[in-house]
């Protein structure tokens, strides 16, 4: 049968941003799909070569605009490795609380978007965004912004926790536990949802590791890898938590990884708040930093996967080279391999579970 070339173009109701998919179709079956990216390329790495280290932190917010605390953390961790700087304990605990809350917020958004993609118009999204709004309110009380926080900074965090913040967070987490049960009902008891996502887009574990997938995409295939456990940073080793995995590698496993990770993050935040030490929140660091000559590559586990920063410093005020290893870029490269022989409807579902955010893919 002849194949038809369909262009799911850059403007589309459900490609999560500007992505162009050139799909070769045989009837309704996908023979080949090629993602074309670069529509949101802003020349981030070149810009950073002309900015001072402290000026780059607000720029990193705009990378993965859904989870900006993680981007801040990854960059700041790399710079602190270059400078050999250790932030105080209280700052580390606040960083962990904020990062895990950010993980919950990002997974809530991913869960809402998958409902949209599969055809349930906005219902799941309204419910998950109700919780996400509460997290955004908490972050607004911390940093003053709802989406690009610029909160984690070189040496610690910018401002201390406002009065009553731990109580608000604990109250929110109690509500979240009930709401997660609601989401599980809406998903796991919905026969059509399960039929649409079970067995669709199976990614085998060996393929996942070879193709460079990380984060929920990798863990959904059953591979127990998480940068927070393998290459521990900050104070994650002080808490009692486990790496969650799915078992089959299909869309439903990836979605279930999101839900389980939200529960695990809420556990970590509760432990962190219970053990929050007192102290100052920021090391004394001058505004203009001149790290010694050297280079380093440091990674963290962002909600999408392994986010890495490679910084080459040459003793001057600007980094000589800054490279971002973005998880959404690598996860998206998995798409041509797992979308062979599926129907168009499945292609959109698979794309939704890979969870791309184009600020990060294109930089």
């Amino acid at each position: 049968m002849e194949t038809v070339l369909l262009n799911l173009g850059p403007q589309h109701p459900s490609t999560h941003g500007v992505l162009r998919l050139v799909v070769e179709l045989e009837g309704e079956r996908v023979v080949n799909v090629e993602p074309v990216i670069g529509y949101l390329h802003r020349g981030f790495e070149k810009i950073c070569e002309n900015r001072r280290y402290i000026q780059i932190t607000p720029l990193t917010d705009k990378l993965d605009y859904v989870a900006s605390m993680s981007n801040n953390m990854a960059y700041v961790k790399a710079v602190e490795e270059l400078l050999d700087l250790h932030p105080p304990q209280r700052a580390e605990f606040i960083r962990v609380i904020v990062l895990e809350l950010q993980r919950i917020a990002s997974h809530l958004l991913a869960l809402g978007s998958i409902g949209n993609d599969l055809g349930m118009p906005f219902t799941l999204m309204m419910y998950t965004f109700r919780e996400r709004e509460k997290i955004l309110d908490l972050f607004e009380s911390l940093s003053g912004a709802r989406l690009g926080y610029n909160y984690i900074t070189i040496g610690g965090v910018m401002h201390d926790l406002p009065f009553g913040f731990p109580d608000h967070v604990l109250a929110f987490l109690k509500e979240l536990d009930e709401k997660i049960e609601e989401y599980e009902d809406l998903i796991y008891e919905n026969e059509i949802f399960i039929r649409r996502t079970e067995g669709v887009g199976v990614l085998k574990p060996n393929d996942a590791i070879n193709l460079g997938a990380t984060g929920p995409v990798l863990r959904g295939s059953g591979v127990k890898r998480d940068v927070r456990k393998e290459d521990p940073y900050s104070v994650y080793h002080m808490f009692d938590w486990k790496v969650v995995t799915g078992d089959k590698g299909d869309c439903l496993s990836r979605i279930s990884v999101w839900i389980k990770e939200m529960k695990m993050s809420s556990e970590i935040v509760k432990q962190a708040i219970a053990n929050l030490p007192a102290g100052n929140i920021r090391e004394k660091v001058s505004r203009v930093i001149r790290p010694p000559e050297g280079e380093t590559y440091s990674r963290i586990e962002s909600p999408r996967g392994e986010l890495g920063f490679h910084i080459v410093g040459d003793g001057s005020t600007n980094p000589y080279r800054l490279k971002i290893r973005s998880p959404a870029f690598c996860n998206l490269s998995v798409l041509p391999h797992i979308a062979k022989g599926v129907l168009i409807a499945d292609l959109i579902a698979i794309l939704g579970t890979l969870d791309p955010v184009f600020g990060e893919v294109d930089r």
Binding site: G38, D231, H310
Partner: protein
């Protein structure tokens, strides 16, 4: 070798911890095996080892690493040092919990190196991006074309001699 990262194991600054033999000894078996194959090595911590390899030996060295459990290629990037171009590969082993970062120096007028997509498929898009930004050509790459910039873009932006049109106020 350039001084990198946290500690240099030859000099100790006042108040800083020097990297001792006990820190590095867990990595000794690996270090013994690879020190013969590489041109230069620098140990940042016992989990992070930087090596320099000539471009002809790159593919063999990568195959060797893959057999020894280094199955996650985290990143491939290019750096424009003003006299030469450099490609850096970061490879992680889950079994040993070690990261080996491989550096390959390339001359400006002949920036060609073998592609490692036959070993780790994740190198595919990373190498396309390095080609896009630096003009480094990867031999035997399945689909080497520009990925982030439009197909008809001229020049390679991340090279130091590429001038970005700046507006007046910066």
């Amino acid at each position: 070798m350039r001084k990198e990262g946290r500690n240099d194991d030859n000099e100790a600054e006042a108040g800083e911890r020097k990297l001792t033999v006990d820190d590095i000894s867990p990595a000794f078996p690996l270090i013994y095996e690879i020190v013969k194959k590489v041109d230069g090595m620098h140990i940042q911590t016992c989990n992070k080892i930087w090596v320099e390899v000539k471009r002809e030996n790159l593919l063999d060295f990568c195959k060797f690493l893959k057999e020894h459990g280094f199955d996650h290629l985290s990143c491939v990037l290019g750096v424009d040092m003003k006299e030469y171009l450099e490609v850096v590969y970061h490879v992680w082993s889950y079994i040993d919990r070690r990261m080996i970062s491989i550096k390959v120096k390339l001359p400006y007028d002949d920036p060609v190196v073998d592609s490692v997509t036959s070993i780790w498929k994740s190198a595919d898009w990373h190498e396309r991006e390095t080609y896009d930004m630096f003009g480094i050509v990867f031999r035997n790459h399945p689909n080497l074309k520009r990925i982030l910039l439009p197909d008809d873009f001229e020049g390679h932006p991340l090279r130091k001699d590429f001038k970005v049109e700046e507006r007046g106020w910066y």
